[in-house]
């Protein structure tokens, strides 16, 4: 019989919400020999080689972990690991340590520690919390190099060692955290870390309860001790008494029930208060986000941006590579439509910029569909990949920056060519709808003509506002003129929605304003029935929709159309929107 200790509370920093109740798995920092030894000058190169080998080993380990998180529905883990990989290539860390080894003829461990002392001093002088805390990322990378230098590399992953427990750790790295899975481990508490640490971001993405910065956690918590971890409160209770345990079991159940109901509510189709169906779609940046879109109750993918495939690389993505990415999204959507937007960047962003003359005015230059039509080989590769992905579920092709019917016809001809080239190889591509982005004022003005030949419209309001009002949002001298509620915008939206209604075409709005509840009534009143937004905004917008009725919305739109200035429209529209009361039974959505 072990003697029962009395209940203690350890206070840390709230990391990731949720309650975990379980036994502790404790991992304290490993002591690496405090080497102070110097080395013979003739051994310096060999020592640099040993250091470089440890750096290379670290790189391989992080790459393996990065590949293992590629299937997650959130991009953060991969992006954080990318940052750590860049640190492993940084001259300030690697080059500096190597030259210290040579200059002072000391062991790699000592040289690395000396470099880290300098790095820490430099970061400490930063006043901004977020940027100062980035030293933790460098520390964690250096720690991994040290472990590799000492030959102390973990066999099983932490996730496997700690399965079924609450992890108590000195300093959990984002890489360690990335491999944790909800259900496999219950939660974690660390001695170190702050509110903005990457480990915290990772834990939130993975929905694992976490408390960080609980300085004495590994010292005060024994292996196997019973612990309650409250991530939202930033508190860990060790050896809780029976009544506390009972209290937290109840709180845990409430938390989980609320989470379940929120997700379940989001799965229901969206209707207005008077029963009009509205489709809410998700905008996608990365294929991995498709699962999040499904979890948030998206009716489909309103716009899958394909630029990620082409950015930050020296070569062009192959057809198979693109097909794999599109297929991931189409399959994840399980029969719901996936709208894939063809490449929407200019040649200046692709490959070696030296190959293309720089343009005086890139926003009005050779980009998007114009660029694709100029580069038929590149375009055909993408179209073939999309058509191949269409065998796995409904796919729509969305064409960006169309200014008139001509470009739509040329694009359709390209799609037909791609279809025939696939047919020649024995693959019969299923039918796909082809729609156009309405983001050029000229296209809005000929919406009636486009509606005859396009299967659907997608209102790209971000660019439509910039082009219509002749302002660059990035230019802060004129950014104040960026105004979704400018009377000109309302007229353009009405023109497009009316033309589409006459021809019986769907219109989806995929600009930022689609995610803002204040614009919802006026947009519904103008006739919009499909909106695309970031997946996480969907549950909240569904809740708003259920409070709004179409009749009132039509009146709001009619009145808004009579107002003279952007400010008048905005003031009126937002106060009108505020009069609708969304149900508050699920607070905190």
């Amino acid at each position: 019989m072990t003697r029962r200790k009395s209940q203690r509370v350890i206070t840390g920093i709230p990391g990731s919400p949720g309650i975990a109740i379980g036994t502790a798995y404790v991992e304290r920092p490993i002591d690496i020999d405090p080497l102070t030894r110097s080395i013979a000058p003739e051994d310096a190169e060999a020592e640099v080689g040993r250091f470089q080998a440890a750096v290379d080993a670290s790189k391989r380990q992080l790459e393996v972990i990065r590949d293992r998180v590629a299937d997650l529905h959130v991009p953060e883990p991969r992006l954080i690991l990318d940052t750590h990989l860049l640190i492993l290539e940084d001259e300030m860390l690697i080059g500096e340590t190597a030259s210290t080894i040579r200059r002072e003829t000391i062991a790699a461990e000592v040289a690395l520690r000396a470099t880290m002392d300098k790095v820490r001093a430099a970061f400490e002088s930063i006043t901004d919390d977020y940027f100062r805390e980035r030293v933790n990322d460098v520390d964690q990378v250096a720690e991994r190099i040290l472990r590799n230098l000492s030959g102390h590399v973990d066999g099983a992953s932490l996730a496997e060692r700690a399965q079924g427990h609450v992890i108590v750790h000195h300093d959990l790295t984002p890489a360690d955290t990335a491999l944790l899975r909800r259900g496999m481990v219950m939660g974690f508490v660390t001695d170190t870390g702050g509110k903005t640490s990457h480990t915290v971001i990772m834990a939130r993405s993975l929905e694992i309860p976490a408390v960080v910065g609980a300085t004495s956690a590994t010292a005060d918590i024994d292996e196997g001790a019973m612990v309650i971890l409250d991530g939202a409160a930033g508190v860990v209770i060790v050896d809780p008494d029976e009544s506390t345990l009972e209290d937290y079991r109840r709180r845990k159940a409430v938390f989980e029930e609320r989470e379940r109901r929120l997700r379940a509510g989001a799965q229901k189709p969206a209707f207005t208060r008077d029963g009009v169906r509205v489709h809410l779609h998700a905008n996608l940046e990365l294929p991995q986000e498709a699962e999040l879109a499904v979890a948030c109750g998206a009716d489909g993918i309103g716009m899958f941006r394909t630029e990620f495939l082409f950015m930050n690389r020296r070569d062009l993505p192959t057809e198979d590579e693109q097909y794999a990415a599109y297929r991931t999204v189409v399959e994840a959507m399980g029969g719901r439509p996936a709208t894939i937007r063809t490449l929407d960047i200019g040649g200046d962003k692709l490959l070696s910029p030296a190959d293309r003359p720089s343009e005086a005015n890139p926003a009005l230059g050779l980009r998007a569909i114009r660029y694709c039509l100029k580069e038929p080989a590149l375009f055909r590769t993408q179209l073939r990949a999309i058509l191949r992905a269409a065998q796995h579920g409904p796919v729509r092709i969305l064409v960006p920056l169309v200014s008139g019917v001509e470009e739509l016809r040329l694009t359709k001809a390209e799609i037909e060519t791609a279809r025939q080239s696939l047919a020649a190889e024995g693959f019969t591509a299923p039918a796909v709808e082809v729609g156009v982005m309405i983001e050029v004022p000229g296209a809005a003005l000929v919406a009636d003509l486009l509606a005859r030949e396009a299967d659907f419209f997608s209102l790209g309001t971000n660019d439509l506002i910039q082009y219509s009002l002749a302002i660059d949002r990035g230019n802060e001298e004129v950014a104040y003129l960026y105004e979704p509620m400018h009377p000109a915008m309302l007229r353009l939206l009405k023109m497009v929605l009316d033309a589409a209604a006459v021809a019986g075409r769907r219109v989806n709005l995929c600009g930022e304003m689609g995610g803002e509840a204040q614009y919802l009534p006026v947009l519904l009143g103008l006739g919009l029935r499909e909106i695309s937004m970031h997946a996480a905004q969907i549950p909240r917008m569904k809740r708003w929709l259920s409070a709004i009725d179409i009749d009132t919305s039509k009146k709001i739109a009619a009145k808004a159309l009579t107002l003279a200035t952007a400010k008048e429209v905005r003031d009126y529209v937002s106060s009108a929107a505020a009069s609708f009361e969304p149900p508050t039974t699920l607070d905190g959505i």
Binding site: L79, I87, F131
Partner: protein
């Protein structure tokens, strides 16, 4: 060797945080030119708070734009003015590409 310089403002909400810094560094790595970035805040320009500043108008500590640590150490939040400098055969293209990233808010907004 062509030398190109450009001053511009960081306008994305999070500034040169880790994700944006990573994009910047990855882009910088694609060019042969030596690429430097410095913050030239009004407060630095006025008071010369950083030690070792010269008295010229552009008082700033340059960091290597190919170093993620250097770029993070700039602690360049939204609204910070930075100066990009490139030296090398592809200096023009490099500055255009980096400026494009910053002006395009790193594709975040």
């Amino acid at each position: 060797m062509p030398h190109v310089e450009r001053t511009l403002k960081i306008t994305n909400k999070l500034g040169l945080h880790a994700r944006a810094a990573a994009k910047l560094v990855q882009m910088a790595a694609r060019f042969k030119s030596e690429l430097k970035i410095a913050r030239i805040d009004s407060r630095q320009g006025a008071g010369g708070e950083a030690p070792g500043n010269k008295s010229s108008g552009a008082q700033a500590t340059d960091v290597n734009a190919k170093s993620i640590m250097g770029v993070l150490m700039l602690a360049a939040g939204m609204g910070t003015t930075v100066r990009l400098q490139a030296e090398g055969d592809d200096a023009e293209e490099a500055i255009a590409a980096l400026a494009g990233l910053i002006e395009g808010k790193f594709g975040e907004e």
